[in-house]
Subunit: 384 residues, 2 copies
């Protein structure tokens, strides 16, 4: 197995964009090539994380179009879809392409264009991520989030405010990130007074609908220093499914895919949760941040909410979580989100995040597909 | 790099099916597990080659649903899309998963459900594989095929009948394949008298619209004999793009992606075209069989058509091509087609194709996305 390095990264501004997904992917791709100091003809493989360009825009074959736009032919290209964790799945695919020896230079570009759809159109597509036996009865992802949040609060005597504090923290981090969709601090009262969406969760417990793109460049670790003085190695990576029918899970407050993919990543890296200095977790809903903190052993089962009072996960805390603003504030363009998590962790461990920089040697990104139906976890360590 | 073996394969009947894609994938997946003697809990990774379940059926997240259906959790899963070469891209992805050490048992299942769509609906989706600057002017894949066939016939003084002979050969092979959509011999006159589609190509120069699924099982070669007395190794594999805008190609009768991916596969295998005993080529249109024969050096440039008179590529010829019936007669369920090519080559090199068995140690599968926009080529060698 070839050790794999990340030697460059980029992302577009997330938010409501006028460009189609191909244009967004091209922007991020060009910036990533520049950031890594790589020319298009050096690319062996080009992966595109995208869930639904066909459904959202009526356009397929986007990876081929991107290869053309970037003048990267004859680089091999392919689309990676793992619903909301398409970006994390892309990191895993790009890692495999280099680790297997198939490619000596792989660029991953993730992106999605969603805001031009009506809420009904995008909800139809996103709902179909989950099992028909559930979503066709109206139990969509926000419903799962509401039901699970209620169960979590009741089971572990957690205050409703603890969830609001996740949103407050991630919005505050977002103000430090010029790429984030929202540049807006909120307070707990605002979050708690926002419109009800899926009891007990309100508007500010949910990520927005977003357009955007992000990219990462991968090569064998033993040649990374030819491209960058400071780079990252992917020391651990893993992926795992949980039941597709969510209501069949014995304990809905445990995400099996988070636990299993985290275990794989920790084992491969030879690290434990205490060794992680910064993490990006998939806070599509505030409750998910707690479930991932516990699934990844950053907090004991049922106790992640307590860390909100301790300030552990704030940007100046012991384990800053979602320094980028997370999906909550940075936005969630499906195929781009996991790649943007990788962007944040990469930039943190090489010390290039400006106002939101923390002291980090090792960082972790956890990307959740569906309601934990498939999850990828990656650990990056800085090399300077 | 871990050497990768194929230890099992399956496919459903191709044709017009009542089942949705998930049911077809499950059928092929279950049969492949049985064929390989592998239990679902042994699976580390499960890849699904599928181009457009969202567009064709309004259903996303199919890989997660398949993992659930097969009780394969926590196996990691992901969808591989590379338009009409999604199956070949899946073989490359599955190979990478084992070669990288990420997985010690990977199943790839490809499938598509298309026949329930109107011709307009499916044409809309398939047209969008190519560049908007072309397909929005009406230059769709069949148009490219017609234009390229005309150019080929004119440039190389090839008789129109040579294309009809490709259809006749592949239909004859299809009668030997119980999984093929068509079990129907045709003659040259029937092909030449069939309705005009894109001058000079007629109905019998085109593959049909098809439903179906196929699967392959991959593991490290050094443990393959624990599962099978006869298995195959993937000795060569590669993938490459050509321009996405087809009319920008200097010579439209050369498919750069075929040439480049073939070169990669030959080089990795340490084999040349003369060492290949059987091949599955992507005959979505009859003209493509000639372009691939030439791109892969089975025939000199402009001379593939001459082999039709020699009978070289017939089932009892020197290099049998499309013993399965090819896309022309077996059918072309997009995501399944490349996997089914792998099925045919695997079954040929392990000697399990019954009435259509040829004497083959090494076989090659070439899967074409779009009009050669991205191509994968794999070489399998039997180990008995």
């Amino acid at each position: 197995m070839t050790d794999v390095a990340v030697i460059g990264a980029s992302m577009t501004k997330f938010g409501q964009r006028d460009e189609w997904v191909l244009e967004l992917l091209s922007q991020a791709g060009e910036q990533c090539l520049e950031d890594a100091g790589v020319t298009p003809d050096e690319l062996d493989h080009l992966y595109v994380s995208n869930m639904a360009s066909g459904e959202f825009e009526g356009q397929t074959g986007v990876p081929n179009a991107l290869a053309h736009d970037l003048a990267a032919m004859p680089a091999y290209t392919q689309r990676v879809d793992q619903t909301s964790s398409s970006g994390g799945a892309g990191i895993y695919a790009a890692w495999q392409s280099v680790a297997s020896g198939a490619s000596e230079m792989t660029m991953l570009v993730g992106g999605e264009k969603m805001t031009h759809c009506t809420t009904g159109e995008s909800t139809d597509v996103i709902a179909s991520i989950t099992h028909p036996v559930e979503y066709k009865q109206g139990v969509t992802l926000p419903s799962f989030a509401g039901l699970t949040a209620r169960l979590y609060l009741d089971t572990f005597d957690a205050p409703r405010e603890s969830l609001a504090k996740v949103a407050v923290k991630n919005h505050e981090n977002g103000t430090r990130n010029p790429h984030a969709q929202f540049q807006k601090e909120i307070d707990v009262e605002t979050a708690l007074d926002s419109p009800m969406i899926a009891d007990p969760l309100r508007l500010y417990d949910f990520c927005p609908i977003t357009d955007g793109s992000a990219a990462l460049m991968f090569c064998p670790a033993d040649v990374a220093d030819q491209y960058a003085d400071e780079y990252a190695v992917i020391s651990g990576i893993g992926g795992a499914t949980d039941t597709h029918v969510v209501h069949e899970r014995a304990d809905p407050t445990t995400m099996g895919g988070v636990v299993e993919s985290g275990k794989q990543a920790y084992e491969m890296a030879g690290l434990g949760p205490d060794d992680i200095d910064v993490a990006e977790l998939h806070d599509m809903f505030t409750i998910l941040e707690f479930l991932q903190m516990e699934g990844l052993d950053f907090a004991p089962k049922g106790e992640a909410w307590k860390e909100m009072d301790e300030g552990t996960t704030e940007i100046d805390g012991e384990l800053p979580i979602n320094t980028s603003g997370g999906l909550k504030s940075k936005g969630h363009p499906l195929g781009a989100s996991g790649v943007a998590q990788g962007y944040e962790i990469y930039k943190q461990v090489v010390g290039e995040t400006g106002d939101r920089q923390v002291d980090a040697d090792a960082g972790l990104a956890c990307n959740v597909g569906g309601f934990g139906n498939c999850v990828t976890t990656a650990i990056l360590e800085g090399r300077r």
